[in-house]
């Protein structure tokens, strides 16, 4: 072979082997003492937080599809009272024949099986007729005070005793005077164009309100199951039965509200008359309250953020977990909310936005339930991104807090009740756990 070719081939072979050769193996596990790193990770096990309770001026309950009726004494805050309001629609054809005779009028409703309080006690439920039509609130994100619908008259009542694990379909007779008044409304408009009665039905019936007498419990009903049925017959050769149903259409489901208020409110929660007012955990018996049905929300103030900020000049938070401990016995174990949503609120408790993670997803507190220790039940939420973002801004707004929510929507209502343990409790207290990564700026 040509000598120059030999040299060239040799040179190329050397370089090819160089290019093709690469490192093998994973990282080699070294003993810790070999390394002299100025960096380390540390956890501050218990970073204080401060819980407080604030109350929205009233509660948005529309579209919730649960009609809560009754009264129940809640620990710490007092008696919670609720009435349900719903708007009904008439069928498109309501014509009344000349020989047709009125029989009766009934209401049907499904109990969801949910309750709060003593299920062994019977409750009298009154059905009221609203004079004014029940309408959407104009402000979509506002909170509603539906107790303004007071102009009503009773059209019947029934007594109901709930049973555990039972979801009965209830059917009761309403006052005949209401039934006859409905027949008269139909007859009076019989001659008008087709659909007139249906289209103008809210002039007769603005909606119905379910109220209670002597209740010692709160019961939930399926709002969409409410049906009022007008029974009649036509006496021909044989008796021909006829029914007309007033029901909650999907269109009107949004017109369903619960009116919730408190009576005999325990101090200091009676002070929560405005949204910006708060009952801090030191005044609230080392607790905060979460009862969205009444507009009570827990606010978490990260009171130690300023000291965290000073640490952050040479350390970075790699994990920040908020631990929220419920007070044992304050919650209904059968209906334990598994998620806890979080929203940033300002000094006046006005929602500023969701607490989000690095992917822009809402931060959710996850339920941890220790089956061996009922006290060891808590929610954890990852606040790493939120905290690092606050710290990176270089300014800690001491008036900013985090409001806890059961639901992902904008402040819907929920009748889950829970008391959270403040940080000042001796055991099972809420806290923030931080993991720092310290890097030595001088170490080279």
């Amino acid at each position: 072979m040509n000598n120059r070719l030999i040299t060239l081939v040799t040179a190329i072979a050397m370089l090819a082997s160089l290019v093709l050769t690469s490192c093998g193996g994973e990282d080699f596990r070294i003993e810790s003492s070999f390394i002299n790193s100025g960096s380390y990770a540390e956890s501050t096990n218990i970073t204080p937080v401060q819980l407080s309770t604030f109350r929205l001026d009233s509660v948005r309950t529309s579209g919730y599809n649960k009609a809560w009726v009754g009264r129940h004494t809640k620990p710490i805050i007092g008696d919670v009272c609720s009435e349900a309001l719903v708007r009904l629609t008439a069928p498109s054809s309501m014509a009344w024949s000349q020989k047709e005779k009125y029989d009766s009028i009934t209401i049907e409703i499904n109990h969801t099986g949910e309750y709060q309080g003593d299920t062994m006690k019977a409750m009298t439920i009154n059905v009221h007729r609203l004079a004014q039509p029940l309408r959407f609130a104009e402000r979509e994100n506002a909170f509603y005070n539906v107790r303004t619908f007071r102009d009503s008259s009773s059209i019947g009542s029934f007594r109901f005793r709930p049973r555990p694990h039972s979801r009965p379909h209830l059917r009761y007779r309403l006052d005949d005077s209401f039934g006859r008044e409905l027949v008269k409304f139909i007859k009076d408009n019989n001659y008008k164009e087709s659909g007139y009665v249906a289209n103008n039905f809210d002039k007769f019936l603005g909606g119905i309100k379910l109220t209670y007498d002597d209740a010692q419990n709160l019961l939930a009903f399926d709002a969409s199951s409410i049906v009022i049925t007008l029974h009649s017959h036509i006496p021909l050769m044989e008796k021909v039965k006829n029914t007309r149903t007033l029901s909650v259409s999907n269109e009107y489901l949004g017109f369903q509200y619960n009116s919730v208020w408190t009576e005999n409110t325990v101090k200091p929660y009676d002070e929560l008359t405005e949204r910006y007012k708060q009952v801090t955990e030191d005044r609230g018996g080392k607790h905060s309250v979460q009862f969205e049905g009444l507009g009570y929300y827990t606010r978490v103030n990260l009171s130690s953020l300023e000291s965290v900020m000073s640490e952050s000049s040479y350390a970075h938070i790699v994990k920040a977990t908020l631990y929220i401990y419920p007070e044992q016995g304050s919650y209904d174990k059968r209906n334990f909310p598994s998620l806890l949503y979080m929203q940033v609120v300002n000094k006046g408790n006005v929602v500023q936005g969701d607490v989000v993670d690095s992917r822009g997803q809402r931060v959710v507190g996850l339920l941890h339930y220790n089956i061996y220790d009922e006290k060891d039940v808590y929610y954890t939420a990852d606040l790493t991104y939120y905290l690092n973002k606050v710290l990176a801004s270089g300014y800690v707004d001491k008036d900013e807090g985090i409001a806890l929510m059961w639901n992902a929507g904008m402040m819907p209502s929920d009748y889950n009740f829970m008391v959270f343990n403040g940080h000042s409790k001796n055991k099972y207290y809420s806290y923030l756990k931080l993991y720092y990564y310290y890097y030595d700026k001088e170490d080279r």
């Binding site: 040179a11 070294i30 070999f34 993991y435």
Partner: protein
């Protein structure tokens, strides 16, 4: 095309491919995480086969880059070109585990020629130090019983470009040498804290060092014959010289956010230590025996921050070997091969956890002529043991292979007749 043109094309091709070849680590040693990395011996693959001893040699077939004074015997009509690469297989062992790593990289390029009868010159490139490690550890998160994983990776190193000159005096009985060079390069040391067990953010703590400075070294050789025996004594000296170093420190997380950035320039943190090397060589007919001793004052570099448990320390090394030349230049291929064997021992330039550790190796080499001309493929192999598997250290069993392409072309012959 002439042979000269062909050779030039090969040389240029090699240089271009060198530049464009994939950058790979020249070491996998955990000890390269300290300072500027592990020092790389600058030498021809021929010397590597003789226990890295070559300070007293002045060969005419290859370029001695270990001593600027070692260029006195270069052929006046010949252009020398050397391209060499190094591959290694490193087996790491400590009390926890074993692992093997292999890689290859360019080990040097040299060009040399005689300018006058008494003046030889060589210009070249070689790595000065190498950083290349991929380590991991698990540490406790202070204040908890939880652990997190840390990965330590390093890459890069310093390079050296040099221009050596030798001046022969008194019929080459005394040769003085001097070299000027540039040291430059950068290396990264990255610490990745993985908080997967917490489902937390990962942190990347990266430090990049960029160093440069000029570098000077001086050499001398004495050459005398007693009968058929040739003796040479050589020495090389370089003084301590700090390097201009800039330092970038970036701490970031896996969300891409820069948590900390520091840029410092003109810090004189790393340095080339004062070193002195002495050697002796004996040649008789086809047989050459040589030995070197080197002392380096790494311990004087007290300002280098390694942490509490690691510091530089003065170190020495001694090595020696012999070469056997089977035939003469005009003999057939197989008789023109050369064989080498050597051994060396050195103490490392650092003390880790109060432990001095050492390195020793057996070397062997072979020169394979390429065709009828004077080009040759030089192969040297060494088996090195470094460190210890106890006291938190790492023991390395390194098998490395250097392959050099030595091209010698007659470029400077002038035709007397047309």
């Amino acid at each position: 095309m002439t042979r000269k043109t062909d050779s030039l094309i090969i040389i240029l091709l090699l240089m271009v491919l060198c530049v464009s070849s994939k950058a790979q680590n020249s070491t996998a040693s955990p000890y390269s995480m300290f300072g500027v990395g592990l020092p790389v011996v600058r030498e021809d693959a021929t010397a590597a086969g003789m226990g890295h001893a070559s300070v007293a040699l002045a060969p005419s077939e290859w370029v001695n880059v270990s001593n600027p004074a070692g260029l006195s015997n270069l052929d006046s009509l010949t252009f020398y070109f050397n391209f060499q690469m190094k591959g290694f297989y490193d087996k790491l062992t400590n009390a926890n585990e074993q692992q093997s790593v292999y890689s290859a990289n360019i080990d040097g390029i040299t060009m040399a020629f005689r300018i006058t009868k008494w003046w030889g010159s060589a210009i070249g490139y070689a790595p000065y130090s190498s950083v290349g490690y991929n380590l991991s550890d698990e540490q406790f998160i202070t204040g908890t019983g939880e652990r997190y994983k840390i990965q330590y990776t390093g890459s890069g190193g310093l390079s050296r470009a040099y221009w050596n000159h030798s001046i022969s005096l008194w019929k080459k009985h005394i040769v003085l040498g001097a070299g000027v060079g540039a040291l430059w390069g950068s290396f990264n040391k990255k610490e990745t804290a993985l908080f997967a067990t917490l489902n937390g953010e990962n942190i990347y703590n990266t430090k990049k060092y960029t160093c440069n400075n000029l570098f000077f070294e001086y050499g001398i050789q004495f050459n005398f014959d007693i009968g058929q025996n040739n003796f040479r004594i050589g020495g090389v000296f370089n003084d301590k010289r700090y390097m201009r170093t800039s330092y970038d420190h970036i701490v970031s997380n896996d969300l891409g956010a820069n948590l900390f950035f520091d840029n410092t320039t003109a810090i004189e943190e790393f340095a080339v230590p004062r070193s002195v090397t002495g050697g002796i060589a004996y040649t008789r007919k086809k047989f050459t025996l040589t030995g070197d001793y080197k002392y380096s004052e790494w311990g004087s570099l007290q300002n280098v921050k390694f942490g509490e448990n690691v510091r530089y320390a003065d170190c020495w090394s001694a090595g020696g070997g012999f070469e056997y030349r089977a035939g003469e230049p005009d003999d057939p291929f197989y008789k023109r091969m050369r064989y080498r064997l050597g051994y060396y021992y050195s103490t490392e330039n650092m003390v880790v956890h109060h432990n001095r550790f050492d390195e020793f190796g057996v070397t062997a080499g072979l020169t394979v002529p390429l065709g009828r001309y004077r080009n040759a493929l030089v192969i040297s192999y060494e088996h090195v043991t470094r460190g210890a598997a106890a006291n938190g250290l790492v023991k390395e069993k390194l098998k490395s292979l250097k392959v050099a392409l030595n091209i010698r072309e007659t470029w400077f012959k002038k035709a007397k007749f047309d």
